[in-house]
Amino acid sequence: MDGRTLNLPRDTEARAALGLIAAGALLLPGLIAVAGENPLRVLGLMVAGAFLDLRGLADTVVRAIPLCLMGLGVAVAFRARVFNIGGDGQFLIGAALAVAASGWLVLLPAPLGVVALLAAGTLGGALWGGIAGVLRARFNANEIIATILLNYIALHVLSWLIRGPLQEAAGVFPRTDRLPPDLRLPMLVDAARISAGLAVALVAVGVLWLVMARSRFGFQVTALGENPEAARYGGVRPGLITAAVLALSGALAGLAGIVEVAGVHGRIQDGFGAGLGISGIAVALLARLNPLWVPASAFGFAGLHVGSATVARATAVPFPVVNVIEGAIILAYLAALALRGRQRAG
């Protein structure tokens, strides 16, 4: 229909979107009220805990680093409409591979060792993402399910590693030994425990922006996500790009994993990095899959996590409220897109 393809929202769509946003706006205060707290006070605490208090602000930045890297990975994949939901698994395998290799990497001269460590984490994530990529490219296996299943497999593999081959020398707790100091990321702000991971994340943002907006590869990723048939017609090899996108997405998650180890904890223990993957999805969506917006989005969600932890400590509102808010934010984002007559993220 010539000239009539403007995707203006239909009345029912707009009504549904507005209704949903209104319901979401009532849901959260309602939940807080159910917990017997004053919504305004909780909101105040949340914001103060995350952003207004120096200690909280530092925690937020520390938390934003892995979220930013994970969010970048998700943004790349979702651009191609490749739904990588396996960030958690790629994060863990990346961290595990790098820690496993740390015994040899420590022999390298000082700055090289850290670089090689980060590379090892990146490689681990890329391999784990690449498995789903190959399954999708060769067998047309749905990547959503595949990456999720690989998450559970990774979780249990890690559980074995920290109780078996990678367990600390003392053999008491299910965790690895600390990385040697030479392999730790240097601190940028010592008091706030903000490591050079921040620089790694910001460099990754720049590189990813360049790749997505300016490179031949990024063009193919975008074309594939926009119209797979047109992409194939235009010379894009869909299988190759899909597999590459999953590997790249996994690589970023793996990098996030080893940055978290080398920059914050120094070791891997049970429960390490739990839930970052799905938060990374929220980060990427709110950034509209644009690498340049990912850091800001990651900072916001990191604040949500830190603020929710503050709230959970100080009030009767339990911590999982953070997941409810993340879910509500995604729904509200989708509703806003529907209102603007856009069907696709990004």
Binding site: M1, R4, R10, T12, E13, A16, A17, L20, L31, V34, A35, F83, I85, L135, F139, N140, A141, N142, I144, I145, A146, I148, L149, L150, N151, Y152, I153, H156, V157, S159, W160, R163, G164, I278, I281, A282, L285, A316, P318, F319, P320, V321, V322, N323, V324, I325, E326, G327, A328, I330, L331, L334, A335, L337, A338, Q343, R344, A345
Partner: protein, 306 residues
């Protein structure tokens, strides 16, 4: 492995299969109508929690079941509202449901039961059919399950009839294969899809209820542990066929039951090697089935006129 062990394995395999089966059947119907909900995991979590909450509150597992079904229905409708009415990305809306289910169940659980845990949860009684349950080997495997298990198997065969042989099935398939054709035939595509999404949600809620009040007795945060995704893998593996979904769910149930037994049989092997068994199986099934699968042509695509 001796006979008694095998009988026990198959019997618990049937039990373990049920939560997956319910969710997979609901998803089969939703997907045949063109609605792809990847948020089953979240709905099952909410269902599992609501079932425990309301079973304790009402003193009856049926109260819990009804609450789980209603909660699942509401979440299915929410997904339908996004995916069908607002026509946003169905996959992303499903991801939001995972987060909502995770958050709401964890939130509610900590609020309602705190650190003390649930305590005694009224569970489903086994339906011991005198005579039948006593048949050696077959008795314990096929009979002596909860009433709900029979309902699940009946639903699978019922849907296997409804989809190809009834007017309702014809309508559902048309909406999922070519919504334009259905629209031209005077069918309200969005309404049918909303109903299918609601049904899918309710069934996932029931699956969650089975998990927390029949298979286990109580709620633990994140207790669904991937079953929602395995259910989707079942749908694909079964090529959108309800009886196929039953077979696939049984396969996973038995694999799940087997891995627990294998852990104790082979203490020398890290137990994690067995835990990942169902997941590896699901991955293999996905790769094996997807190549030749004929998926509903309009799956995941919102319908608009013009």
């Amino acid at each position: 492995m001796d006979g008694v062990l095998l009988v026990g394995l198959l019997a618990s395999g049937v039990r373990f299969a049920m939560p997956i089966l319910f969710a997979a059947l609901g998803e089969t119907v939703a997907q045949r109508a063109g609605v792809l909900n990847v948020g089953l995991e979240g709905i099952m979590l909410a269902g599992a929690f609501l079932a425990v909450l309301c079973a304790v509150a009402t003193g009856s597992p049926w109260g819990g079941l009804a609450a789980a079904a209603a909660g699942g229905l509401a979440m299915g409708l929410l997904h339908g509202l996004m995916a069908v009415r607002m026509k946003v990305d169905q996959i992303i809306a499903g991801i939001a449901l995972i987060l909502l289910g995770l958050g709401l169940s964890g939130f509610g659980y900590r609020l309602a039961f705190g650190a003390g845990g649930v305590g005694q949860v009224p569970g489903f009684a086994r339906l011991d059919i005198p005579g039948l349950s006593d048949i050696p080997v077959l008795g314990p495997i096929l009979f002596g399950h909860h009433l709900l298990a029979y309902a699940g198997v009946t639903a699978a065969f019922g849907l296997a009839w409804v989809l190809p042989r009834s007017g309702l099935g014809l309508t559902l398939r048309a909406v999922g294969e070519n919504p334009k054709a259905a629209d031209a035939a005077g069918i309200d595509v969005d309404r049918v899809r909303m109903a299918a999404a609601a049904f899918g949600g309710a069934m996932a809620g029931i699956g969650g209820a089975y998990l927390s009040t029949a298979q286990l007795a109580g709620f633990v945060e994140n207790m669904v542990a991937g079953r929602g995704f395995i259910a989707i893998a079942c749908v694909v593996f079964a090529r959108w066929n309800p009886v196929g979904a039953l077979v696939a769910a049984l396969l996973f149930g038995i694999a799940d039951a087997a891995q627990i037994r294998l852990q104790s049989l082979y203490p020398g092997i890290p137990y994690q090697a067995f835990i990942i068994l169902p997941f590896v199986l699901a991955l293999a099934a996905l790769a094996a089935a997807a190549r030749s699968a004929h998926l509903p042509a309009a799956l995941g695509r919102p319908y608009r006129r013009d």
